[in-house]
């Protein structure tokens, strides 16, 4: 996390007095009543001083959602979620937070230690609440996660380039025409149960706009932007790369977060116009629950990129190690001629985790190409499914896809499934699919251990080798972090 660390330090230096710009205190004192109703949605919209059309948009989604039923086709099992038993706006987490690290799950702390996170950072990540007098760590939290102070650091540079990077609630006020033009055009409000719910109640998220011909001068990251403590649950992200522009966006932080929101239903929409490129990387390491799977996060997220312009390109790279349940299919709609979609994924499951993840490549335009590299690693009692759809529309003359899905099993109690769907309505397209499932080789582990590596280190090394093709797609610092993370998440996977 070298780069991130540096930024954290930098932010801390500028942080203290810019704190007043944050909206943190507001949020903490405001609460919508529990449960979901039109009133709650009006409340959220009003709190954010949204334009009228936005409220209508939300309400329409809500009414739609009432008619929908929760999907049950994924290979995951979880107790029924009571949607009336949730807070949809600023849950009062401050009262529930531990008072010191002594009250935090020691397992979680051990993980932080392994990741080399400094003590005060650990407190922040674990959500430790300091009494009033001890303000320093609080300010650090806000400085790290609050958009405004960080934006101050980078604002100048981004502004010079014409890049807009702000909370989506701010974009709704400052750039309503842009938001209105693109919001919901990739993931319509009616898309699926969780996306529709998100459309009705989303609290915040990121908005990015890169003007024509601009190469965004830095990698943009949510880690720098958002006070996720209160907005993580129904996050909404919208990224637009205008003609000939380029942006690399990093989502998430590599330290596992303590989070009382069991349900996460985020929506991410990407739009790439002619000759534009968006690279979206995620390292997700949410709390997976204890060894019995209790207390972990349910991650139901809809991520979709629209290669709207000719020769545009969208690539998703993800490293998934957290959550109790992951239900996630970052997809590309390849609309523009010769546009390209890529999906590189590492999904690790351990303990009782259940992962159902994959991608969809929808070839609509002529000469569109896509590439899918998926590496699934299952350990413990986990189950890990890759579900992928590659489809070609009638007009997708000469579309090509290459898919490679490899699964690695560690131990005897886990499972891996590969569920590919292929639909080609055009004779000229070429879809290639390769899949392998193998058990981690005892002989290779023995070889590594004979050279002095412990069983856990040997396992991590072999797994890192297995996922190398995907790790190489990540920005440098992220890759290093991800590598460390892989070792940590495999802990206890070997007898």
């Amino acid at each position: 996390m070298a780069a991130v660390q540096e930024t954290v330090e930098q932010v801390r230096r500028v942080g203290a007095d810019q704190y007043k710009y944050g909206f943190v205190t507001d949020i903490e004192s405001d609460l919508a009543p529990k449960g979901l109703s039109e009133e709650v949605i009006r409340f959220i919209s009003a709190k954010k001083s949204e334009p009228e059309w936005m409220l209508e948009w939300r309400l329409e989604a809500y009414r739609r959602w009432l008619t929908m039923t929760e999907p049950n086709w994924a290979r995951v099992e979880y107790p029924a979620i009571d949607y009336q038993d949730l807070y949809y706006y600023a849950a009062p987490k401050s009262t529930a937070g531990p008072k010191s690290l002594d009250e935090v799950d020691p397992e979680l702390l051990r993980t932080y230690e392994k990741l080399g996170i400094p003590l005060h950072e650990r407190e922040i990540l674990a959500g430790v609440e300091r009494p009033e007098g001890e303000a320093r760590p609080r300010v650090a939290v806000d400085a790290v996660f609050d958009s405004v102070s960080v934006a101050t650091t980078f604002k100048e540079e981004l502004k010079k380039a014409g890049v807009i990077f702000c909370p989506i609630s701010e974009a709704l006020r400052e750039h309503p025409e842009l938001v209105r033009k693109y919001l919901g055009t990739v993931v319509p409000t009616s898309d699926n149960f969780f996306a529709t719910l998100n459309s009705a109640v989303f609290s915040d998220g990121s908005f990015v706009y890169i003007p024509p011909g601009v190469r965004c001068p830095m990698e943009l990251s949510t880690y720098f932007r958002i006070n996720e403590k209160n907005t993580g649950q129904f996050e909404r992200t919208l990224i637009i790369a205008d003609r000939g522009s380029y942006v690399s966006y990093l989502e998430g932080c590599t330290a596992p977060k303590r989070d009382e929101n069991q349900l996460h239903a985020a929506v991410v929409e990407l739009v790439a116009l002619d000759d534009a490129e968006i690279k979206y990387s995620t390292v997700q390491n949410w709390y997976p629950g204890d060894e019995n799977g209790k207390g972990g996060i349910y991650n139901f997220v809809t991520k979709r990129g629209d290669c709207r312009g000719a020769n545009s390109k969208i690539s998703w790279t993800q490293v998934e190690t957290g959550s109790a349940i992951t239900w996630k299919y970052p997809s590309c709609v390849l609309r523009g001629e010769n546009s390209r979609g890529e999906f590189y994924s590492i999904a690790i499951s351990n303990g009782r985790q259940q992962v159902d993840s994959g991608t969809k490549m929808i070839h609509l335009g002529k000469g569109t190409t896509s590439r899918i590299i998926s590496k699934g690693i299952s350990a413990g009692h986990s189950s890990n499914a890759y579900r992928g759809l590659v489809s070609a529309h009638r007009k997708a003359e000469g579309a090509r896809n290459f898919t490679n899905c490899d699964s690695l099993l560690i131990g005897d109690a886990c499972s891996a499934h590969t569920i590919p769907y292929i639909e080609a309505k055009n004779q000229s397209c070429v879809f290639e699919h390769e899949a392998t499932t193998s058990k981690i080789s005892e002989d290779v582990l023995f070889y590594c251990m004979q050279r002095g590596l412990s069983q856990e280190d040997a396992t991590a090394l072999v797994v890192n080798g297995f996922v190398r093709d995907v790790l190489q797609q990540l920005p440098m610092e992220f890759a290093v972090e991800a590598q460390k993370l892989i070792s940590v998440s495999l802990e206890g996977s070997v007898g």
Partner: protein, 252 residues
């Protein structure tokens, strides 16, 4: 002085089948021992039992490394204690660059011994020196461990690992097989550099050829899971003449 390796009446089995039948061997620091013997006589089995390969179980007897009971140590603890096995069939580790592997192995051992880790520049420098002795291209070390290496290249890579890790006890299981004559010379010179008064070397081989370059202090003949004869370096020459016919009946 305690011997570096002390094997007493060792019996071991794989999948319920007894392979080692009362093995006795003592290797002192500073000595080079050669073990020869027919195919299937349990030479590799001995190396696996000593290094702790899963599935290879000691049923009787003892093996001590510098006085410490090997059966009480995990595979990686044995490695950190200085036991190195150059595999007869080295394994491939896909996706892991050889250099990464070397760094991980060396520093894991150092850490276990409470020593400081070797810095990357020092490591690269050291590896370069060794690669030069073994006439290996550094480009090869950027490739994944043993993946796509020829048989001879794998044996060279094993030797390189051994020279970097500087173990107390080196066991070379047919490191000469698959080597061309020039490779045999460079690998032997690498092994000879490791000869020292603090180190013991056990070479398992079928051929006198290797022993022309690595002169053993002691030669053993192994048959049916134990040592049936021990002599000086001339014993190897004798075997070259007569083969193992005499010993197979002896062991039966």
């Amino acid at each position: 002085m305690t011997a570096l390796l002390e094997i007493r009446n060792l019996k071991a089995e794989i999948a319920g089948k007894q392979i080692l039948n009362g093995y006795d061997l003592t290797v002192k620091a500073g000595e080079v021992h050669a073990i020869m013997g027919p195919n299937g006589s349990g030479k590799s089995t001995l190396s696996y039992v000593l290094s702790g390969r899963p599935g290879y179980n000691i049923t009787e007897g003892q093996a001590l490394l510098a006085g410490a009971d090997l059966s009480q140590m995990s595979v990686d603890e044995r490695a950190a204690a200085g036991l190195f096995l150059a595999f007869q069939y080295p394994l491939e580790v896909p996706g892991v660059a050889t250099m990464t592997f070397l760094r991980a192995a060396l520093n894991a051992q150092r850490k276990k011994r409470g020593e400081e880790e070797m810095s990357s520049p020092d490591l690269i420098k050291r590896v370069k020196e060794i690669a030069k002795i073994l006439d290996m291209d550094m480009e090869m070390l950027r490739r994944p461990v043993n993946v796509g290496f020829s048989g001879g290249e794998k044996k060279r890579a094993e030797t390189l690992q051994m020279m970097l890790l500087e173990p107390k006890l080196c066991i070379l299981d047919e490191t000469d097989s698959g080597l061309d004559i020039d490779a045999l010379k460079v690998v032997s010179s690498g092994v000879n550099q490791l000869r020292s008064k603090d180190r013991g070397i056990v070479v398992i081989t079928h051929y006198q050829r290797l022993l022309d370059y690595i002169t053993p202090d002691v030669v053993h003949v192994q048959s049916a899971g134990r040592i049936v004869r021990t002599g000086g370096k001339e014993l190897a020459l004798e075997l070259e003449e007569t083969g193992y016919a005499n010993y197979q009946s002896e062991a039966a």
